[in-house]
Structures are given as structure tokens and as C-alpha cells.
Amino acid sequence: MSRAHPDYEVVIGLEVHCQLRTRSKLFSSAAVSYGDPPNHHTTPVCLALPGALPVLNAEAVELAVRAGLAANCSIQPHSVFARKNYFYPDLPKGYQISQWEEPLCLAGWLDIQVGEAAPRRIGITRIHMEEDAGKSLHDQSATETHVDLNRAGVPLVEIVSEPDLRSPEEAGAYLRKLRAILRTVGASDADMEKGQLRCDANISLRRHGEKQLGTRTELKNLNSFRFVEQALHAEIERQAELLDEGGEVQQATLGYDSARDRSFVMRTKENADDYRYFPDPDLIPLVISQQRIEEIRASLPELPEARCARFQREYGLAARDAGLLSESRALAKLFEGAVRATPGGDLAKSIAKWLLRDVVAALKERDATLEDARLTGQALAELVAMVEAGRVTANNAHRLVPELLFEGGDPEALVRERGLAALSDEASLAPLVDEVLAANPEAVASYAGGDKKSLNFLMGQVMKRSQGKADPAKVREILARKLGG
């Protein structure tokens, strides 16, 4: 485990709000949308008009169960919606419908890995369903606050971790893992930029070896992966300085100012809200049969965790490669498509290397995702097979990757059209070698004088003359022979 601070053990728990991928809101038929004109998607329920009543969206329940199963939770057959009461203009009813004493999901976990460290299991206390609030717009007028209720009532799950995370990096890894599984099971698009994944962090410090938890602060609204780690680092520094000076951490809710890389106090414990939770009498308890839970479980796609284990088992991949490949469903699919298209030979490890190195790099270069790509498993398998068979050099294959990735096409044909087929036969390569030897008498002389490095120079010249098509091993063999080595 990497230490986040030399003197203190860092204890972090995350509360993640994640928007469920439904068509309509949690308790009304209004559409879930992003970026539409204000108050475009509202019904009497969203506006909290007198006499309006909530009706639970069954699709949201299914997605929440999927999220719970993906996070290894126990799904509760009986859960209860409760009202969290507070006044705010973007909260039309004056309460948020959430779950309190009886949430939908309990006692789950996720395994995370930071760098080369051993994987760690992070407990998930609970996952509950709730509705989102609207948005207060403070920039529309100098004197008024405007309210947009398009988001009011959008379904969320809140995923609460145990205080098991020990560094900002672990917090980051946990979040990434969470995002991956939520996407895999189709519960959420979990796009942080669109606010579909929002994170609050509870953090405290204690001396190494101490049993008692320190006083914690809560960092609110960390709205990017980068900010989560930055803000936690900044808060660790702040708390450590306080404790070093013999001071005490005050329990408080903090915001994070990314521009100044500093946290600031939003409210302290003394003026903490009393939300007066109680079961919502407009809704009946949410009852889900064991049979329904099992149906949903059976419909889940393979989770990254299971996929990673399978990739190691079936294809003999290293844990790291298997982990990276299984995190993205699209990447895993491309990998397996390519492996299946491999005629006979076992190219899985090579395919994994090509995917994780060349394909990922090419995507990053263009800031693209695999959804934008046109590379098929079949094509990737062919390319790798050609490299392995020495029919195209690794260098030339590497150059072909972006084109295959974004334009699509058949690697065999491409290699043929471009004349990139590797030269590996004596008949084609010997004349090239002879030309190079004739053109570089000094190098030949210095090789003869014992400077073995000259061989590399001469190799480079042959490769250049072959436009990268020459098989380096064969060239080396011919050169060595002709130089009388």
C-alpha cells in the first residue's frame, strides 16, 4: 500500500451520486434530458403543484438493482423511500425523496488496484435510490436567482463506501472502478462532465497504528477525477498541518476551489442541517421478489472483475494486461473478437500488447473512444498475425494502426497496396546489403577494426534503403555473414 502521508494514516470514504440511465424521471413521466431549455421537462410532480403525487419508475428500480449487483451488494427485498426535508428553491417539494433507514442495497464491495500494489477490497456500506434536485442559476440576472427544474426528479443512486480508502490514488482507483462497472451493467453513463457521476469525500487523519478514527471533514461536489485526487491531497496537507501544530480538525463540510487548489468551509457541525427524515407516505415500500433479483442478475453482462480473471485463466494474460483490457467493455470485446479470429495460433498475448500499446495510444492521440473506431477484431488479428509471421515489420504495422482504427479496412490488402510487405528472403535483401556495404567503406573498416557498433549503423542503412520493409533479423544475419563475422 502506498502511503499518502509519512506521519498519518489517511482514512477516506466516498459518497458517489450516480445518475441512472432512464428515459423518464424517478417519480414522474417527464423526460430525462441534458442541455435543453430551462423548465422544458416538468410535470405537476416536478413542479410540486398542489395535489401532485409521485409514482415510482420501474426502469429506475431495475437499473439500481443492476448497480447493486455489480457492486456485490445484497439487494433488499423490502426498502423504503423517505423524505429528506429542507428548503431550497431548486427543491420544489421542500423535501427530496430518498431512502434512509431501509435502503435498496447493503454490504457490497469492489476490488481496486493502484499501480503495481496488491489489489485491495473496498467495502460498500449501502446503495440507495433518490431523486436529483433542480438547478439554481445565479448568472441570469444581477438581482434574481433563476431556477431550472429539468433535472429535478432525475433518478440517482447514492453509493456510500466504507472508510476503507487510504490514499487519494485509491479514491481515484475506486471511482474509476465504480464507473467501469456502472457502465458495464448499463446502470449509468457515469459521465462526470455531464454531472452523471458526482463525488463527496469524507476524510480524516490518524497517527499510524492508532485505532480511533480522527475527526473527519466532508469535501463536497468533486466533479472530476482529477479534482477528487487534488482536493484530497490538499485536504490531507491542511489536516496534517493542523495536527502537526497540535491543533484539532473541526468537523465541517468543505468545498474545493480548484483554481487555488484549496478547500474552504461551507458549514460547520454547529449549523448542520436536521433533515427530519421520515418514510414518504405517498409511496409504498419497494418490494422486490428474490425471483426478480435473480432474473436481473442473470441478465447482467460479465463484469470487469470476472472478465479480468477469465482473461488471465483462458488466455494466460498478465494480471495488469487483463485488468486494463477488462475495464472497458469495448476494449474487451475487440480483444476477444481478435483472439477468436486468430487462425489456429495463440496470439492472445500479442493481441493484448498491440491493443494496449498501439490502439490505446492512437485513440488518445485523437481524443477518441472505441465507439468512434472502425477497427474489427478480424483486422486486428490479421495485422498481429502478419507481424508474428514476419510478413510485415512491427514498425510498419505500427504506422498502419491509426488508419485501420479510424478508416477500417483489410490489413493484408493495405500492406499489399502500400508495398509494405516485409523483405525477408535472401534474394531481395542480399543486393541491398551489398549496396550499403559498397557505399560505407569507413563503417566496414571500423567494424573490421573491432568496433562492433558499426554493425548497427549498417543495419540502419539497410532498413532505410528498404523503406522499413526489411526483416531486421534476416538483415543482421546477412550483414554478419558478409562482413565475415
Binding site: 403525487l53 407516505p281 405517498d282
Partner: protein, 489 residues
């Protein structure tokens, strides 16, 4: 003075016989309101043009032989907390000044689908909080039997309007007795259906787990006609019971032989009870026996905790239900406010009346951290015990008979300075709400010129058998035919 309107069944007969048109019924209702409601103040709003149009459409359907149902052409009044599209929905509160609902309550949709004519909106205690209709921000309603007396509440306007012969029937809402108690005070029949029998969509919530819409009319048969029209599963109300609409009218079983009427000993106490009321109720029970019913004493041992549990649960829910009235989106916003807190505080201070504020404060306290277990949770436990009391009692009887109220209509102002005394007038009615049972109040005599109510309670979903017992009683008695003299013209 304009003549009283007949009851629903008589109006139906007259319409069917061609003796009167629906338009004429509306005109008669408007004339009656004109004549008596200046003094009574049952109505907050009348819809003369719209009601005449609806009545004309009904007459046209009748002429074309395409009637929508037994209520086609019958004028009905709505309590001011039941929303109707395009109409104000004020809940007799200043905070909803100027608010018009963009949608129909489920019961309004169903009344319209049945062809009923909506005559207007009736007065009530603000947000249904009260037992006298004195908590209306628009002034109290007077009891048609004695004008200086309260009509009961909170559905006092609906009960008064039926008693005064302005409408054949009205809808009210009952959270702790708000249909049955004013029905008793005004000498009409009031039914609180089983919780979940009638959709609450479009009923402005006071206490969601207790609120139920129900009819007020002159007879059990008339109430049956209305219940048939407004009941039935509504997927838009999650607490609606998945049962089809009732089919009570014409099917009321008035033979009581073999039926057992339970008399809870906790409800027949001398202390705090008007002896005249006890006498009327005992006589009514004797009448049920004469009709073939057996009687037996039953016990509801947790009755004495009911009022306390009720006021904890109802106020807790109300404190949350009324949070939406914050001055930000609709209704009243205080003038000249500069900050958000100021907007909330002043809008709500100016918009809510004293009783509503009292209950919001009480409910907020009840739910507060550190008090929740002692009050709200405890009250919910009492609620479970009360429900079990009834389950046990109903093992030995089919229907329970009690007085509706411990005393007849009290004078206006008599209790308004003492909320706890006012709360205690709900003592016989709140248990049915806490247990979700159907309850009905029907006239069973008079004490010093004031009507007395007999309350009958049934098992959950036994609304129709309950109406049957009430109907049997009314077939043998004439109490429901008595009309208040002052407003009788």
C-alpha cells in the same frame, strides 16, 4: 326563497322522468345558493356559466340517449382542496391566492366522466386543519341548523351545502374525521372510504397516510352512487388499492339478519359525552337490532392513545407536505423581500393561518433529530396497535357502531381559543383514519334541535357492506329526512 334541491336519487328520478332538466337543477342550485349562502358561506366559488354548460351538455346526452351514468346531470360541489383544471384550488388559504390548477383531480375526472355537473368549491378549515371550518382564511361557514353554531370541519362547507339543500351531494376529505364530523353536525350522511379506495391524486395533501376523499349526501344510497363513480384503482396514486370501482348503488343489502354490530366499550362512556347523544346512538343500535342485527360489546383497548398518535402523525406529515408552499413557484409571495430566507419566512408567515402554523411547528418538532423516536416512531407503533385492536374486534362482529362525536355542533368561537379541546372533538373519528378503515356518519336523531351522528366502521374494503347497514337503518327511520328550519325557507 328558492326551494331546496332534492337528494341525488330523487334528482335522478326527476331527470329521468323529464320533470326537470339538468340546466334547471343547476339554476335551482344557484338560486338556492343566492338565497341562503350569503349567510351560511358554504361556497368559496360558484361556476354558474360552466355548470350551466355542463348541464346543457348533459341534457343533450339525455335527449340523444347517450347518458354517461347515474350521476349524469347531477350537480356536485367540491371541497376547496380537490383540484379542478382551470379553477382556483385555494384550500381556504391565503398562501394559494391566485393559484389555479392546471390539472383535474382523479375524482374530478371520474365525476366528469360520469356526467356530473361541478357546481363550485366549498369552504373548509385551511388545508383541512380543523374541526369547525373556523380556520378558513375566507371566514367561517355557519351551521344551517343553528347559524351561531359551527358546521364542523374541516369539510364544513360541503356538509353545510348538502344540509342547506344547495347541492344534492358534495365531496369532502377526511383525515381524522373531516367528512364524518361535519356530516354529524349538519345532519347529513358522510362516508370516509377505506384508505386507498379513492385516488388521492389532486387532493391537496394534509396528511398523506390518513387523507381520503369521500362523499357527503342525504342517504347511504346517494353516497353509494358517488362512491361508485369516484372509487377504483388509479395507478397515478401509489397508495391506491388495486380494486375495481365499487358497484354499490342498487346492490345495498339491507337485510341485517345474522349481522353482528360491535359496540366498543371505550366509545360508550359517560364522561365527556353529551347524554342526549348517547341516548340517540343507543336508540339507533336498538333499531339495527330490530332490523335483525345482533349486537355485542367489543373492546378497542388502545383508543385512548388515538388522538395523541393522530396529532403526531398528521402534523409530522403536514409539516413536510406544506413545505412546497414557499412563495417561489406559485401562490402568494410576500412583497418587497430581498433574500431567500426573507422570502420563505414572510411568504409563509403571511400566507398561513394560526392553526396551520401551529401544526407545522408541532410536526417539525415531532420529526426533529432526538425526538423522532419518542414521538413519530412511537405514534406509528400506536397506529399498529390500533389496527390490531380493530382486527381483533372484527373477529367478533361485522360492523362497529359508535357516536360520531361526543357532543352536537358547538357554538362558533367556543373552542377556537383552545386547540386541545378542539382536537378532542375528533376522539371517535381518528381511529378509522389511523387504521385505514371505512367509516360513515349518518343522522340518528336530534339533541336540542341539533342533529346527532351515528358512526359505523367496517373492515378494510367493506365500504359496500357498511353502506348496506346504513341503508337498512335509513329505510327504517326518518332522521335523514329532517331539514334545518332556518334555511328551509
Amino acid at each position: 326563497m328558492a326551494a331546496r334541491l332534492p337528494g341525488v336519487s330523487e334528482a335522478r328520478r326527476a331527470l329521468a322522468a323529464g320533470e326537470q332538466s339538468a340546466v334547471a337543477l343547476v339554476d335551482q342550485a344557484l338560486a338556492r345558493a343566492e338565497a341562503v349562502d350569503g349567510e351560511l358561506h358554504c361556497f368559496l366559488q360558484l361556476r354558474p356559466e360552466a355548470a350551466r354548460e355542463e348541464a346543457a351538455a348533459s341534457d343533450a346526452r339525455r335527449a340523444a340517449g347517450s347518458l354517461r351514468g347515474p350521476l349524469d346531470g347531477i350537480p356536485v360541489a367540491l371541497k376547496d382542496n380537490i383540484v379542478q383544471a382551470g379553477e382556483p384550488a385555494g384550500c381556504a388559504s391565503r398562501i394559494l391566492d391566485g393559484y389555479h390548477s392546471p390539472f383535474d383531480a382523479s375524482v374530478v375526472e371520474r365525476l366528469k366522466a360520469a356526467g356530473a355537473v361541478i357546481l363550485g368549491r366549498t369552504n373548509m378549515d385551511e388545508f383541512a386543519m380543523g374541526s369547525s371550518t373556523e380556520n378558513s382564511a375566507l371566514g367561517p361557514t355557519r351551521n344551517p341548523w343553528q347559524l351561531e353554531r359551527a358546521p364542523g370541519g374541516s369539510s364544513g362547507g360541503s356538509a353545510g351545502a348538502v344540509a342547506a339543500g344547495i347541492v344534492p351531494a358534495a365531496l369532502g376529505s377526511d383525515t381524522g374525521g373531516s367528512i364524518r364530523q361535519p356530516a354529524a353536525f349538519c345532519g347529513v350522511v358522510g362516508l370516509k372510504p377505506t384508505y386507498g379506495r379513492v385516488s388521492r391524486l389532486g387532493l391537496v395533501a394534509f396528511a398523506s397516510s390518513l387523507d381520503q376523499i369521500g362523499p357527503l349526501a342525504h342517504t347511504a344510497e346517494d353516497c353509494a352512487l358517488l362512491l361508485d363513480a369516484i372509487s377504483g384503482h388509479d395507478p397515478r396514486d401509489s397508495t391506491s388499492i388495486p380494486e375495481p370501482p365499487t358497484c354499490a348503488a342498487g346492490n345495498l343489502v339491507s337485510d341485517l339478519s345474522g349481522r353482528v354490530v360491535g359496540l366498543p366499550r371505550e366509545y360508550f362512556v359517560e364522561e365527556g359525552m353529551d347524554p342526549g347523544i348517547l341516548g340517540c346512538v343507543r336508540a339507533a343500535v336498538a333499531e339495527l337490532e330490530a332490523a335483525g342485527a345482533k349486537t355485542r360489546e367489543v373492546s378497542l383497548p388502545h383508543t385512548r392513545y388515538a388522538v395523541a398518535a393522530y396529532y403526531l402523525i398528521a402534523t409530522a406529515e403536514a409539516s413536510s407536505n406544506l413545505a412546497r408552499f414557499d412563495g417561489s413557484r406559485y401562490g402568494r409571495r410576500a412583497e418587497g423581500v430581498h433574500t431567500l430566507t426573507e422570502m420563505y419566512e414572510r411568504s409563509r408567515s403571511e400566507g398561513f393561518g394560526a392553526e396551520v402554523k401551529r401544526r407545522i411547528l408541532l410536526g417539525t418538532y415531532v420529526l426533529s433529530a432526538g425526538y423522532y423516536d419518542a414521538y413519530y416512531r412511537k405514534a406509528q407503533q400506536v397506529r399498529t396497535l390500533l389496527r390490531r385492536d380493530f382486527e381483533a374486534a372484527f373477529e367478533g362482529c361485522d360492523v362497529i357502531a359508535t357516536p360520531t362525536t361526543p357532543e352536537p355542533a358547538f357554538p362558533l368561537g367556543a373552542k377556537s381559543s383552545d386547540p386541545v379541546t378542539m382536537y378532542l372533538s375528533d376522539i371517535f373519528t381518528v381511529s378509522a383514519n389511523l387504521a385505514g378503515l371505512p367509516g360513515i356518519s349518518l343522522p340518528c336523531g336530534e339533541v336540542e334541535g341539533l342533529p346527532v351522528g351515528l358512526q359505523l366502521l367496517g373492515r378494510p374494503l367493506d365500504d359496500v357492506p357498511l353502506l348496506g347497514v346504513a341503508d337498512a337503518f335509513q329505510r327504517r327511520t326518518r332522521h335523514h329526512l329532517a331539514v334545518p328550519e332556518e334555511a328551509a325557507g
